[in-house]
Symmetry: C2
Subunit: 205 residues, 2 copies
């Protein structure tokens, strides 16, 4: 099908680049690492530390989180159940594109509903969606309260707050459970990276 | 600010990865190549051929087009003026994320409205948005009619068709004008790649 063309000083082939060629170029498999858990459980911290560890060994990575999604792609969405669902749907679609591009895409969102996470999993090629339940007791999350959100949720200033006034549906069968209230960050990062190595997604070196 | 951590067999740093480190890793600058033009002008063909040429020299690239956007992220959108605007807004946001990840992101959409393209440009860091006017006369596009869409538009089967029953607003000051009805594909690809080399986005080799 493909036709190799040589111009003055460029060469190209007609048609699309096969995903396997992107994987070969990068030297690792592409995947989605979907971190889910309560506010304050450590999703972003863990995702950033995992990304750093992967990046240091030459992987192509990117994090989708509230900072780059809520003020950009999803700035038209609020926190109603419908908007939360659409929020996660779009994040799932973008993560899939990033993954298709050869990237290990990490997403760090509470993503409280099982059905919404399943939606993201269902559009992703088999075996490429790795759900990382970032587990931490509500008590510990509320004690940490890094952004002061639990305090505002308890006072009623923030309505529909996950864990307080809105449900969090824990994963029933996640690929990984990382307990951030029982292990330190380094151990949690190690657990995720070890999993990726065992699965052959990144190289053991 | 950053703290280097060494665990058993991983190292990581707390915090985010700087964009410049992604650029260093890839060996080229990140950018958005925004192809705009009439249906049949050759946007997808040109974008694919440019991507192949860049990929062959080791660049990290990805194309956003109707195939991976209209049936995924934007499957809730139709072809009303409002939906076309939202379509391009989301594509601009995703291209920006891809660019932020270090990728040369190519987009291949008619994107007929100046204001919508300006919206995508405005959210992109200065100098990273390269508008490629894929120029081809309506007569030639209609003669090619690769998907039979012009025929359907003329018969009224497709309403609001750009160039026939809906406007196309040509770029006023694009970074590049590539004339696909005057030059062959190899020459058009060469023109785009030469521009990226001159701008220092990709290496001259």
């Amino acid at each position: 099908m493909s036709r190799e063309i040589k111009s003055q000083n460029i060469t190209y082939t007609e048609g699309e680049i096969a995903h396997e060629h992107r994987v070969q170029q990068n030297g690792h498999e592409a995947a989605i690492l979907w971190f889910t858990g309560l506010s304050g459980a450590g999703k972003s911290t863990l995702a950033q530390a995992v990304e750093q560890a992967l990046f240091k060994q030459g992987c192509h990575t990117y994090i989708l989180d509230g900072d780059n999604i809520r003020f950009g792609l999803n700035r038209d969405l609020g926190f109603s159940p419908e908007d939360r669902t659409e929020n996660i749907r779009r994040i799932g679609e973008v993560a899939k594109l990033m993954m298709d591009a050869g990237t290990i895409c990490l997403t760090a969102f509470i993503s409280p509903y099982i059905v919404d996470r399943k939606g993201a999993r269902d559009i992703t090629p088999e075996g490429k969606f790795i759900e990382v339940y970032t587990k931490c007791s509500l008590e510990e999350c509320e004690r940490r309260d890094p952004k002061g959100l639990y305090k505002k949720a308890r006072s009623g200033e923030i309505p529909q707050f996950t864990g307080i006034s809105a449900p969090y549906e824990a994963p029933e069968n996640p690929e990984l459970v990382v307990e951030t209230d029982k292990n330190d960050l380094a151990a949690c990062v190690q657990q995720v990276v070890d999993y990726l190595r065992e699965r052959g997604i990144v190289k053991t070196d």
